[in-house]
Symmetry: C2
């Protein structure tokens, strides 16, 4: 239980930001995030809880793939980036090692350069494959033109997974499994119905690549969506003759969506550069195949916030809400004892609670409950007790119910 009377963090009365999207404004108006530098944010207690919930959901599902969690460093050697030919990309932050010479390292914006040589120590035989590692880690990208507040930050959390394979067939098998696992993740995040696997251009490595896009007013990408068949095409491939042919039966609508996940078929790009091989059943040396997959964790917070907000501010899906219940005590300390009984019951069934026991007006408390987007609100007062218990309301509707305290455990 977090008691508001002992909590220094407060909502602000007015919007403190000129951000171009509502979710960032509301996350700033509540005590979720604060800007530190341009496109660099600190997470206040509520924001960190949302991030941790997103991270837990992702981790739980990735572990069903036998993928193992690791944590790679943020500082990366310049030589590793030179080896793969990417030391010149403009999003790399340089970190000079001393004043007196021109040596520097990079802040890793992604970890292919680190994970490939790291895993090459362990991958020796076909028996070691397939294998996958993932991490949830702070990434640094010196984006020149960061857009839409929460969507492209210079320092952000990403979940990146890397899988290693003997051949194309093993890659494809992993790919099918990952798609299913990611669908489960998006379902648990509360965005499953509006998040589609989307065909995009494949870049250097293959005809198409894949990404998961979700419908949001923050959308950066124009996506052609066939909602009946749950198929989506990125705008960049829509004019391709073979795409036109393949999807000629489908009816597409143009909408702005946001990328929440992407997959890069790296094939042997990095294992070539780092000379990573395995020995097959016939003792023949072969090149390891590799894929990488990324979910934008910080961005997911913004996308989910934007997706569900209403004219009364934030609304969190239950699985990622920072707290389950916002319990408002109306007025005097006599109510305190009954309120604590209610909270104890909720905590005994594993629910988390903000207890608003402040000596301030009811409307300020109710406004905070709405602004912060806590899924379930309970009011307890002399009046509700006289009516038989507490007043219950869900954040995403306007149905008010009086429930007896004994029935609290049965709230759906």
């Amino acid at each position: 239980m977090l008691k508001m009377s002992q909590n220094a963090f407060k909502t602000t009365k007015t919007q403190v930001s000129s951000a171009d999207n509502l979710s960032t404004k509301y996350l700033l108006q509540g005590w979720y995030i604060r800007q530190e530098l341009a496109w660099v944010f600190n997470y206040l207690p509520l924001g960190l809880k949302v991030l941790n919930n997103i991270k837990s959901i992702i981790t739980k599902h990735l572990e069903t793939l036998w993928a193992q969690e690791i944590l790679m460093s943020s500082l990366g050697a310049k030589e590793k980036w030179e080896k793969t030919g990417r030391s010149g990309i403009d999003i790399l932050f340089k970190v000079p090692t001393s004043e007196s010479n021109n040596n520097y390292n990079f802040l890793n914006p992604t970890h292919e350069e680190i994970v490939t040589p790291l895993m090459s120590e362990f991958i020796k035989s076909y028996k070691d494959l397939p294998m996958a590692v993932f991490q949830t880690q702070t990434k640094f990208r010196n984006e020149k033109r960061a857009k839409s507040g929460i969507l492209r930050w210079r320092e952000f959390l990403m979940n990146d997974m890397y899988s290693f394979h003997t051949d194309q067939e093993s890659l494809d098998e992993m790919y099918s499994k990952v798609i299913e696992v990611y669908k489960n993740i998006f379902r648990d995040l509360g965005i499953g119905n509006d998040t589609y696997l989307t065909y995009a251009s494949g870049g250097a490595f293959s005809k198409y690549s894949h990404e998961f896009q979700t419908l949001t007013s923050l959308g950066e990408d124009i996506i052609h969506v066939d909602k009946d068949n749950k198929i989506a095409l990125n705008n960049e491939i829509i004019e391709d003759p073979s795409v036109k042919e393949e999807f000629k039966e489908n009816q597409f609508v143009e909408e702005k969506w946001s990328e929440v996940w992407n997959i890069f078929k790296l094939w042997t790009k990095f294992t070539d550069a780092c000379d990573v091989n395995y020995v097959d059943k016939n003792w023949k040396k072969r090149r390891v195949y590799m894929w990488c997959y990324g979910i934008w964790v910080s961005r997911t917070m913004g996308i989910v916030a934007e997706k569900f907000l209403d004219e009364k501010w934030l609304i969190w899906p239950e699985n990622i809400a920072p707290y389950d219940y916002y319990v408002i005590r109306i007025w005097d300390e006599r109510i305190d004892e009954e309120a604590k009984k209610v909270i104890e019951k909720l905590e005994n069934i594993g629910k988390t609670v903000i207890y608003d026991d402040r000596n301030i007006g009811f409307w300020q408390k109710a406004k905070d409950a709405d602004l912060l987007g806590i899924p379930k609100r309970i009011i307890i007062s002399e009046k509700t007790l006289a009516q038989g218990g507490i007043e219950y309301k869900s954040r995403n509707n306007d149905i008010y119910e009086i429930l007896s305290i004994d029935n609290i455990n049965n709230i759906k």
Copy 2:
């Protein structure tokens, strides 16, 4: 359950490091850590699990203080460090913002410069105080002379807490509570008996400062220890006349210990620089007082590893071990079914298990169980089944017991 047959990570046959301490050698020989740059490490699956366990223990106890968890950014504005007069300290890594000008930010080595202005937005009245925030976050320090492998890294995890107060009395009250909470943390980490509150020199802010030091062969600090009275003095104050007088009855032994925690009585150093005030009960504006407290999380992994290792490698205390059990199947697949029954029983009571089902020699499996330091080992074979069940052995003794599979739940 982690099945070793599906795990690419392996121990190395020989020591791969010239580190000056055994724990770093063993952490490298097992699949705990790998060096990325000088004094910058990647955490492999077992190392990350140990780190996360340490982090969970710390977080659980700090929450009993009503402290709230936040996550501040790694990139920090140069101007904030200039404001407090610390922009010239030599451990600061600079991060240029572009090629074309001399602007840069810093990688924060500690977060007073960030947390003080951050909290000044929320601390307005005496009613907002005391309050405390903490984080477990990656710190970057450009240490010129990093010593003892795991002890002083350039990129490492630290738990740093910052508390804000109306006055000296409130500071002192918090201090007493924190000392008790930290003792509980060190107890749960398994180092409670050998971790003492130690008096050190106070620097600019007070006569003495305090740190927790723990006994280890990696010790960097000479500590004068009175084990009967559980009092310790840092070497730097031992010649002070008032110290000599105060502790004249105590019998001290000189030993090398390692700092795991320190506390800095910042008083108003940072709140002066950032002009952080509150309004007292009489509507008078007053300066906020501030303390900070830090536990070295990565370092704690090294210290605990060093403290408990034996001639057969690592031994983890149960609370922070990466897995609880190492289950070895001897030979054929017929045993597999019985082994899985055992593992299911263990998992049903919340235990975590490495299942060594590899088709390799027994001695290699037993060696891995010992090297990795997993607290409890179970062997299951035709022979143990014939004797009545499984063979159980704890990592920290040489008592072998045959237990029936039904009795597994009763292992102490």
